[in-house]
Protein backbone atom coordinates (compact mmCIF):
# COMPACT_ATOMS: atom_id res chain seq x y z
CA UNK A 1 0.00 0.00 0.00
CA UNK A 2 2.80 2.47 0.81
CA UNK A 3 4.46 1.53 -2.46
CA UNK A 4 1.22 2.34 -4.32
CA UNK A 5 0.96 5.67 -2.51
CA UNK A 6 4.56 6.59 -3.39
CA UNK A 7 3.83 5.55 -6.96
CA UNK A 8 0.83 7.89 -7.15
CA UNK A 9 2.91 10.75 -5.74
CA UNK A 10 5.59 10.41 -8.40
CA UNK A 11 3.05 9.95 -11.21
CA UNK A 12 1.25 13.16 -10.15
CA UNK A 13 4.53 15.10 -10.06
CA UNK A 14 5.58 13.87 -13.50
CA UNK A 15 2.16 14.62 -15.01
CA UNK A 16 2.19 18.18 -13.63
CA UNK A 17 5.75 18.65 -14.91
CA UNK A 18 4.71 17.63 -18.44
CA UNK A 19 1.34 19.40 -18.42
CA UNK A 20 -0.77 16.29 -18.99
CA UNK A 21 -4.01 15.49 -17.19
CA UNK A 22 -5.17 12.02 -18.24
CA UNK A 23 -3.10 8.99 -17.33
CA UNK A 24 -3.40 6.00 -19.65
CA UNK A 25 -0.84 3.68 -18.11
CA UNK A 26 2.28 3.50 -15.99
CA UNK A 27 5.09 0.97 -16.32
CA UNK A 28 6.79 -0.25 -13.14
CA UNK A 29 9.87 -2.44 -13.27
CA UNK A 30 10.55 -4.55 -10.20
CA UNK A 31 13.47 -6.83 -9.46
CA UNK A 32 12.70 -10.50 -8.89
CA UNK A 33 14.24 -10.12 -5.42
CA UNK A 34 12.27 -6.98 -4.52
CA UNK A 35 9.48 -7.46 -2.02
CA UNK A 36 6.73 -6.75 -4.52
CA UNK A 37 3.81 -9.00 -5.28
CA UNK A 38 2.39 -7.76 -8.61
CA UNK A 39 -1.14 -8.85 -7.80
CA UNK A 40 -1.07 -7.04 -4.43
CA UNK A 41 0.41 -3.87 -5.93
CA UNK A 42 -2.25 -3.90 -8.65
CA UNK A 43 -4.94 -4.15 -5.99
CA UNK A 44 -3.38 -1.35 -3.91
CA UNK A 45 -3.04 0.81 -7.04
CA UNK A 46 -6.74 0.44 -7.76
CA UNK A 47 -7.57 1.26 -4.15
CA UNK A 48 -5.49 4.44 -3.96
CA UNK A 49 -6.51 5.77 -7.39
CA UNK A 50 -10.23 5.11 -6.92
CA UNK A 51 -12.28 8.34 -7.19
CA UNK A 52 -9.19 10.31 -8.26
CA UNK A 53 -8.25 11.64 -11.73
CA UNK A 54 -5.93 8.61 -12.05
CA UNK A 55 -8.78 6.10 -11.73
CA UNK A 56 -8.95 3.59 -14.57
CA UNK A 57 -5.30 4.00 -15.60
CA UNK A 58 -3.48 0.76 -16.29
CA UNK A 59 -0.61 -0.39 -14.11
CA UNK A 60 1.87 -2.45 -16.12
CA UNK A 61 4.51 -4.41 -14.26
CA UNK A 62 7.63 -5.96 -15.64
CA UNK A 63 9.95 -8.17 -13.63
CA UNK A 64 13.69 -7.58 -13.84
CA UNK A 65 15.43 -10.96 -13.69
CA UNK A 66 18.16 -11.60 -11.15
CA UNK A 67 21.67 -11.14 -12.47
CA UNK A 68 24.60 -12.30 -10.37
CA UNK A 69 28.37 -12.06 -10.37
CA UNK A 70 30.12 -15.19 -9.14
CA UNK A 71 32.02 -14.61 -5.90
CA UNK A 72 34.76 -16.97 -6.98
CA UNK A 73 35.48 -16.56 -10.71
CA UNK A 74 33.65 -13.29 -11.42
CA UNK A 75 31.45 -14.68 -14.18
CA UNK A 76 28.16 -12.82 -14.64
CA UNK A 77 25.07 -14.98 -15.03
CA UNK A 78 21.30 -15.18 -14.57
CA UNK A 79 19.85 -18.16 -12.74
CA UNK A 80 17.49 -20.16 -14.93
CA UNK A 81 14.78 -21.01 -12.45
CA UNK A 82 13.20 -18.04 -10.73
CA UNK A 83 11.55 -19.96 -7.93
CA UNK A 84 14.87 -21.13 -6.54
CA UNK A 85 17.03 -18.07 -6.14
CA UNK A 86 19.36 -19.32 -3.47
CA UNK A 87 22.41 -21.55 -3.67
CA UNK A 88 22.73 -21.19 -7.40
CA UNK A 89 25.93 -22.76 -8.65
CA UNK A 90 27.98 -20.60 -11.01
CA UNK A 91 27.70 -22.11 -14.52
CA UNK A 92 31.42 -21.61 -14.97
CA UNK A 93 33.07 -22.79 -11.73
CA UNK A 94 30.23 -24.22 -9.59
CA UNK A 95 30.66 -21.85 -6.63
CA UNK A 96 27.28 -21.42 -4.90
CA UNK A 97 27.98 -18.99 -2.06
CA UNK A 98 28.37 -15.24 -1.83
CA UNK A 99 27.39 -14.11 -5.32
CA UNK A 100 27.00 -10.39 -5.77
CA UNK A 101 23.54 -9.24 -6.88
CA UNK A 102 23.97 -7.01 -9.96
CA UNK A 103 20.29 -6.75 -10.86
CA UNK A 104 17.07 -7.94 -9.26
CA UNK A 105 16.55 -5.59 -6.29
CA UNK A 106 15.27 -2.54 -8.18
CA UNK A 107 11.82 -0.98 -7.96
CA UNK A 108 11.20 1.98 -10.25
CA UNK A 109 8.84 3.69 -12.65
CA UNK A 110 10.12 3.26 -16.18
CA UNK A 111 7.65 5.52 -17.98
CA UNK A 112 4.07 6.65 -18.18
CA UNK A 113 1.62 7.12 -21.00
CA UNK A 114 -0.59 10.18 -20.64
CA UNK A 115 -2.35 12.88 -22.61
Amino acid sequence: MSIAQSLVGIVQQEMAKHGVTRLVSVLVRHGALAAVVPHALEFAWQAVTQDTPLAGARLDMEEVPVRLRCSSCGKEFSPEECDRLMLIPCPSCGEDLGHEVLEGKELYIENLEAE
Binding site: S6, E14, L87, L97, G98, H99, E115
Partner: protein
Protein backbone atom coordinates in the same frame (compact mmCIF):
# COMPACT_ATOMS: atom_id res chain seq x y z
CA UNK B 1 2.41 10.79 -25.21
CA UNK B 2 4.95 8.57 -23.49
CA UNK B 3 6.93 10.22 -20.69
CA UNK B 4 10.18 8.57 -19.62
CA UNK B 5 10.44 8.66 -15.83
CA UNK B 6 12.99 6.18 -14.43
CA UNK B 7 12.51 7.15 -10.79
CA UNK B 8 12.88 4.91 -7.77
CA UNK B 9 9.41 4.45 -6.29
CA UNK B 10 10.77 4.58 -2.74
CA UNK B 11 12.83 7.73 -3.36
CA UNK B 12 10.94 9.77 -0.75
CA UNK B 13 11.66 7.15 1.92
CA UNK B 14 15.29 6.85 0.80
CA UNK B 15 15.75 10.64 0.93
CA UNK B 16 14.65 10.89 4.58
CA UNK B 17 16.72 7.79 5.41
CA UNK B 18 19.77 9.50 3.94
CA UNK B 19 19.16 12.59 6.13
CA UNK B 20 18.87 10.32 9.17
CA UNK B 21 22.06 8.51 8.19
CA UNK B 22 23.97 11.81 8.01
CA UNK B 23 22.65 12.84 11.40
CA UNK B 24 23.59 9.50 13.00
CA UNK B 25 27.03 9.71 11.39
CA UNK B 26 27.70 13.12 12.93
CA UNK B 27 26.62 11.81 16.35
CA UNK B 28 28.45 8.48 15.86
CA UNK B 29 25.35 6.52 16.82
CA UNK B 30 25.22 2.91 15.62
CA UNK B 31 21.73 2.28 14.25
CA UNK B 32 20.44 -1.27 13.81
CA UNK B 33 17.19 -2.20 12.08
CA UNK B 34 15.96 -5.41 13.72
CA UNK B 35 13.74 -7.46 11.41
CA UNK B 36 12.01 -10.80 11.98
CA UNK B 37 8.65 -12.57 11.84
CA UNK B 38 6.26 -12.08 14.76
CA UNK B 39 7.20 -14.17 17.77
CA UNK B 40 10.78 -15.01 16.89
CA UNK B 41 12.13 -13.02 19.83
CA UNK B 42 13.05 -9.47 18.80
CA UNK B 43 11.87 -7.93 22.04
CA UNK B 44 13.38 -10.71 24.18
CA UNK B 45 16.71 -10.30 22.40
CA UNK B 46 16.57 -6.57 23.07
CA UNK B 47 15.67 -7.09 26.74
CA UNK B 48 18.72 -9.34 27.17
CA UNK B 49 21.04 -7.08 25.22
CA UNK B 50 19.92 -3.87 26.94
CA UNK B 51 20.28 -5.49 30.35
CA UNK B 52 23.62 -7.20 29.78
CA UNK B 53 25.32 -4.24 28.10
CA UNK B 54 23.74 -1.45 30.14
CA UNK B 55 27.03 -0.56 31.89
CA UNK B 56 28.94 -0.44 28.60
CA UNK B 57 26.67 1.50 26.26
CA UNK B 58 23.97 4.11 26.28
CA UNK B 59 21.17 2.56 24.20
CA UNK B 60 17.70 3.51 23.03
CA UNK B 61 14.95 1.65 21.20
CA UNK B 62 12.32 2.68 18.70
CA UNK B 63 9.55 0.09 18.82
CA UNK B 64 7.35 -0.47 15.80
CA UNK B 65 4.04 -2.24 16.24
CA UNK B 66 0.67 -2.30 14.58
CA UNK B 67 -1.00 -1.41 17.87
CA UNK B 68 -0.24 -1.57 21.64
CA UNK B 69 2.83 -0.37 23.54
CA UNK B 70 3.55 -3.72 25.25
CA UNK B 71 7.01 -4.00 23.71
CA UNK B 72 8.03 -0.45 24.60
CA UNK B 73 7.04 -1.10 28.20
CA UNK B 74 9.06 -4.33 28.33
CA UNK B 75 12.09 -2.59 26.87
CA UNK B 76 11.75 0.47 29.12
CA UNK B 77 11.79 -1.85 32.14
CA UNK B 78 15.49 -2.48 31.41
CA UNK B 79 16.17 1.23 31.97
CA UNK B 80 16.77 2.07 28.29
CA UNK B 81 14.90 4.87 26.54
CA UNK B 82 12.04 3.44 24.51
CA UNK B 83 9.65 5.13 22.10
CA UNK B 84 6.67 3.36 20.61
CA UNK B 85 5.51 3.89 17.04
CA UNK B 86 2.07 2.50 16.24
CA UNK B 87 1.84 2.05 12.50
CA UNK B 88 -1.95 1.68 12.58
CA UNK B 89 -1.95 -1.27 10.25
CA UNK B 90 1.15 -0.58 8.15
CA UNK B 91 3.30 -3.70 7.98
CA UNK B 92 6.68 -1.95 8.23
CA UNK B 93 8.34 1.18 9.60
CA UNK B 94 9.44 3.87 7.18
CA UNK B 95 12.05 6.58 7.54
CA UNK B 96 9.49 9.34 8.20
CA UNK B 97 8.13 7.44 11.22
CA UNK B 98 11.64 7.04 12.61
CA UNK B 99 12.35 10.74 12.05
CA UNK B 100 9.20 11.62 14.02
CA UNK B 101 10.05 9.20 16.83
CA UNK B 102 13.54 10.70 17.16
CA UNK B 103 11.97 13.90 18.47
CA UNK B 104 11.12 11.96 21.64
CA UNK B 105 14.60 10.53 22.17
CA UNK B 106 17.53 12.20 23.86
CA UNK B 107 20.35 11.25 21.50
CA UNK B 108 23.14 12.98 23.46
CA UNK B 109 25.91 10.49 24.07
CA UNK B 110 23.84 7.64 22.65
CA UNK B 111 25.94 4.68 21.44
CA UNK B 112 23.32 2.39 19.91
CA UNK B 113 19.81 3.00 18.58
CA UNK B 114 17.84 -0.18 17.94
CA UNK B 115 14.85 0.06 15.63
CA UNK B 116 12.59 -2.90 16.27
CA UNK B 117 10.59 -3.23 13.07
CA UNK B 118 7.08 -4.61 12.71
CA UNK B 119 7.10 -8.43 12.70
CA UNK B 120 7.35 -9.22 8.97
CA UNK B 121 10.15 -10.61 6.78
CA UNK B 122 9.04 -8.95 3.54
CA UNK B 123 8.25 -5.23 3.51
CA UNK B 124 10.71 -4.03 6.20
CA UNK B 125 13.53 -5.26 3.95
CA UNK B 126 12.45 -2.72 1.28
CA UNK B 127 12.19 0.36 3.50
CA UNK B 128 15.49 1.61 4.85
CA UNK B 129 15.16 3.77 7.98
CA UNK B 130 18.67 5.24 8.04
CA UNK B 131 20.26 2.21 9.68
CA UNK B 132 23.90 1.19 9.48
CA UNK B 133 22.92 -2.46 9.37
CA UNK B 134 19.91 -4.67 9.16
CA UNK B 135 19.85 -7.47 11.72
CA UNK B 136 17.70 -10.43 10.67
CA UNK B 137 16.42 -12.56 13.50
CA UNK B 138 15.11 -16.03 12.89
CA UNK B 139 14.01 -18.59 15.47
CA UNK B 140 14.67 -22.26 14.88
CA UNK B 141 10.96 -23.02 15.42
CA UNK B 142 10.14 -21.17 12.19
CA UNK B 143 12.04 -23.55 9.92
CA UNK B 144 15.37 -23.44 8.14
CA UNK B 145 13.86 -22.48 4.79
CA UNK B 146 13.29 -18.83 5.70
CA UNK B 147 16.50 -17.41 4.17
CA UNK B 148 15.56 -19.20 0.97
CA UNK B 149 11.99 -17.88 1.02
CA UNK B 150 12.82 -14.27 1.91
CA UNK B 151 16.05 -13.71 -0.01
CA UNK B 152 16.02 -9.90 0.02
CA UNK B 153 16.22 -9.56 3.80
CA UNK B 154 18.98 -12.14 4.15
CA UNK B 155 20.87 -10.68 1.18
CA UNK B 156 20.82 -7.25 2.87
CA UNK B 157 21.37 -8.10 6.54
CA UNK B 158 24.78 -7.80 8.20
CA UNK B 159 23.80 -10.25 10.92
CA UNK B 160 21.53 -13.26 11.21
CA UNK B 161 20.63 -14.11 14.81
CA UNK B 162 19.31 -17.67 15.12
CA UNK B 163 17.25 -17.58 18.29
CA UNK B 164 15.78 -20.37 20.42
CA UNK B 165 18.59 -22.86 19.71
CA UNK B 166 17.67 -24.54 23.00
CA UNK B 167 14.72 -25.96 21.00
CA UNK B 168 16.98 -27.61 18.39
CA UNK B 169 16.51 -31.13 19.83
CA UNK B 170 12.74 -30.79 19.32
CA UNK B 171 12.53 -29.24 15.83
CA UNK B 172 13.81 -30.18 12.40
CA UNK B 173 16.03 -27.21 11.85
CA UNK B 174 19.28 -27.59 9.94
CA UNK B 175 21.62 -24.84 11.16
CA UNK B 176 24.06 -25.49 8.35
CA UNK B 177 21.37 -25.27 5.67
CA UNK B 178 19.99 -21.99 7.01
CA UNK B 179 23.50 -20.54 7.22
CA UNK B 180 24.43 -21.62 3.71
CA UNK B 181 21.24 -20.15 2.27
CA UNK B 182 21.81 -16.87 4.09
CA UNK B 183 25.35 -16.73 2.66
CA UNK B 184 24.28 -17.53 -0.91
CA UNK B 185 23.78 -13.86 -1.77
CA UNK B 186 25.66 -12.40 1.18
CA UNK B 187 29.00 -13.97 1.89
CA UNK B 188 29.84 -11.61 4.77
CA UNK B 189 26.70 -12.14 6.87
CA UNK B 190 27.59 -12.88 10.50
CA UNK B 191 25.56 -15.77 11.92
CA UNK B 192 25.05 -16.15 15.66
CA UNK B 193 23.07 -19.15 16.98
CA UNK B 194 21.74 -18.08 20.38
CA UNK B 195 18.97 -18.42 22.93
CA UNK B 196 17.44 -15.65 24.98
CA UNK B 197 16.13 -18.23 27.42
CA UNK B 198 19.40 -20.05 28.19
CA UNK B 199 21.66 -17.09 27.20
CA UNK B 200 23.89 -19.38 25.15
CA UNK B 201 25.50 -17.70 22.15
CA UNK B 202 24.79 -14.18 23.35
CA UNK B 203 28.45 -13.26 24.05
CA UNK B 204 29.33 -13.59 20.34
CA UNK B 205 26.49 -11.20 19.43
CA UNK B 206 27.69 -8.75 22.09
CA UNK B 207 31.23 -8.90 20.68
CA UNK B 208 29.84 -8.09 17.25
CA UNK B 209 27.98 -5.09 18.75
CA UNK B 210 31.15 -3.86 20.50
CA UNK B 211 33.09 -4.02 17.24
CA UNK B 212 30.29 -2.26 15.31
CA UNK B 213 30.08 0.54 17.89
CA UNK B 214 33.86 0.99 17.75
CA UNK B 215 33.77 1.08 13.94
CA UNK B 216 31.01 3.71 14.00
CA UNK B 217 32.89 5.89 16.46
CA UNK B 218 36.06 5.63 14.35
CA UNK B 219 34.31 6.94 11.26
CA UNK B 220 35.04 10.60 10.80
CA UNK B 221 32.86 11.23 7.77
CA UNK B 222 29.20 10.57 7.10
CA UNK B 223 28.61 7.15 5.66
CA UNK B 224 26.77 7.19 2.37
CA UNK B 225 26.42 3.42 2.20
Amino acid sequence: MQIPVVRNILEANDRIAEELRKRFAVQHILVLNLISSPGSGKTSTLERTLTDLKDEFKMAVIEGDLTTDNDARRVAATGAQAVQINTDGACHLDSGMVLDALASINTDGLDILFVENVGNLVCPAEFTVGEDHKVALLSVAEGDDKPEKYPLLFAEAAVMLLNKVDLLPYVDFDLDKATRHARALNKDIAVFPMSCRTKEGLPAWYDWLRAAVAAKKAKMRPVTD
